[in-house]
């Protein structure tokens, strides 16, 4: 589809260029001919540019301000069965599924022969599929969003109780101190948890399939992913599986590689330090 549009645009521009160039010879005017020549040269450059930039040329014609909008939609949607993502491009639908490969072996605990074997098994994995497969080793920040949110809620609750008790006339000093201690405890815990980031290393593979509709693309990609998972499991002797649900997003979305809440506190502290 993309290649067809590219060739069509190229042929149209070359055709236009030839028509304009013919007029240079038909009307050999020292005023008009140079203008036609410049137009032909511009067309020649644009015709060549279609080789790489067709996807930008058509949206550039509809450019608003100084922004070329390729798509104003979300890049993908999660399939109803939660096993893949779907991407619409023109009339075609692309589905992509992810296979998690749970390999937790460290090179430090392997002998040289084991390292060689592991490398051979890994290269065998790359030859598993006759369709293109993306094999990735990803290091991401471990998601502590829920934990941080629960600590923050508890801290807010304790702070609120402390403020209410302080405003109340005749409150006991002991209970005041106890709540103050609780606030300090949650605050310290919050600082500790958000001060450092823990990372996880995951190996996964991604396969894609094209279909005329969502169901077709999904069926094909699920089959391919299951096949690939079975192949990897047989090679490494691990239980590779097709990733489902929210876990998918860790491999796609940058805000899941670095979860928002997990880094927010640290960024706030950094900004405060810089401001001070």
């Amino acid at each position: 589809m993309a290649l067809n549009l590219q060739l069509l645009l190229f042929v149209v521009l070359v055709g236009a260029g030839i028509v304009v160039a013919v007029f240079i010879y038909v009307i050999p005017s020292p005023v008009i001919s140079p203008i036609l020549a410049i137009i032909t040269l511009i067309i020649a450059v644009f015709a060549f540019a279609t080789k790489y930039y067709t996807y930008l040329m058509v949206p550039a014609l509809k450019m608003k301000g100084r922004t070329i909008v390729l798509s104003a939609d979300e890049p993908f949607i999660i399939a109803p069965n939660n096993t893949a993502i779907l991407m619409h491009e023109g009339q075609e639908v692309y589905a992509s599924a992810f296979v998690k490969i749970p390999l937790y072996r460290s090179a430090t605990e392997m002998s040289n022969d084991e390292k060689l074997d592991f490398a051979r098994l890994f290269s065998r994995m790359t030859t598993l599929s006759k369709i293109p497969v993306k094999i990735s080793s990803q290091m991401h920040v471990i998601n502590k969003d829920e934990y941080i949110t629960s600590i923050r809620n508890k801290l807010n609750e304790a702070q609120e109780r402390y403020a209410t008790l302080g405003a109340k006339p005749g409150g006991s000093k002991a209970s005041n101190d106890r709540i103050k201690g609780e606030v300090t405890m949650w605050k310290n815990l919050m600082d500790n948890v958000s001060a450092s980031q823990a990372h996880a290393l995951t190996i996964y593979a991604m396969v894609s399939a094209m279909g005329g509709n969502e169901e077709e693309a999904l069926t094909i990609v699920n089959q391919q992913a299951e096949d690939f998972a079975a192949g990897v499991s047989a090679i490494f002797g691990v239980s590779a599986y097709v990733v489902k649900g929210i876990e998918l997003l860790t491999f796609i979305e940058p805000d899941h590689m670095i979860p928002v809440e997990t880094v927010t506190e640290r960024l706030k502290e950094k900004a405060t330090e810089e401001a001070l």
């Binding site: 140079p34 100084r66 030859t127 293109p132 880094v263």
Partner: protein, 274 residues
């Protein structure tokens, strides 16, 4: 150079040649048109061989941003993709990772290769331990048809052997040309030997991706640049030629997060991968 490039270059070149051939019609403007025609050809060659240089310059001069998808913006510098969500800016950047193709290594399969593989595992672990930010090392692979690939290699070897024997039987054989051909034959032979030994041929494209976060766009892009520089430094321990990906090729690599395209098309479009 593939057949598509040849077609695009030659047809665009013909258009320019038609303009140059009509120089008699331009009167006093003839020298200017000739200069412009040469300039147009230079632009075309630049677009073909180094569009990653020319495209960011154009977007920067014209101040053009590209909205890839909702919330995903490519700034005019064309060196990262920025996602703005929940009050934070996430900058995604890419590096190409090309394996150095040493002639002596390609010609002979020896014991040193095993040593390289063994040390590779240790190097990888040291890299992972020394990095404290998210990154991905991606390999897009496609298994080739074994028989087809073998026949292709044997065909190329036969053609080179024919060329070499013709050169040797000529009246004045050039030693350098013969040596060069012999090297090429050795490389092909080494590949055939590998296949005979049980290795399966595979096409690969490798690249590295990282994500940086910041409370402002500038902070995120600055952090990204630091992270990319660190990745370049640590991955130098492997025999990799690493280069920051910008412009059109970065758009393609970003799309690879969501779907894998046809391998040959990807290979043609991702020129930084050698």
């Amino acid at each position: 150079m593939d057949e598509y490039t040849i077609m695009y270059l030659s047809i665009s070149g013909i258009l320019i040649f038609i303009v140059i051939a009509g120089y008699g019609a331009y009167g006093a403007f003839a020298p200017l048109i000739i200069v412009l025609a040469i300039l147009a050809m230079l632009v075309i060659l630049l677009l073909n061989y180094a569009d990653f240089v020319i495209f960011p310059v154009i977007t920067q001069v014209l101040g053009i941003k590209v909205l890839l998808w909702k919330d995903y913006m490519v700034p005019k510098t064309e060196n990262c993709v920025i996602k703005y969500t929940k009050g934070l800016y996430y900058a995604q950047g890419y590096l190409s990772a090309n394996i150095y193709n040493y002639i002596f290594a390609a010609e002979n399969i020896n014991q040193e290769e095993d040593a390289g593989i063994i040390s590779g595992a240790d190097k990888w672990e040291r890299i992972v331990m020394s990095i404290d930010f998210p990154f991905k090392f991606n390999v897009v692979s496609l298994a080739e048809e074994l028989q087809k690939h073998r026949e292709e290699l044997e065909g190329r070897r036969g053609f080179l052997q024919f060329q070499m024997s013709r050169e040797m039987s000529s009246g004045n054989p050039n030693t350098l040309t013969i040596q060069d051909m012999q090297k090429k034959i050795n490389i092909i032979q080494a590949r055939i030997d590998r296949i005979s030994a049980g290795e399966r041929p595979v096409k690969t494209i490798m690249y590295i991706e990282t994500v940086a976060v910041g409370v402002s766009e500038k902070e995120a892009t600055d952090n990204l640049t630091n992270q990319l520089n660190k990745l370049i430094t640590v991955f130098n321990s492997f025999d990799l030629s690493i280069m920051r990906v910008t412009g059109r090729e970065m758009h393609i690599l970003n799309k690879l997060n969501y779907r894998i395209m046809d391998f040959d098309l990807l290979n043609r479009q991702f020129q930084l991968q050698k």
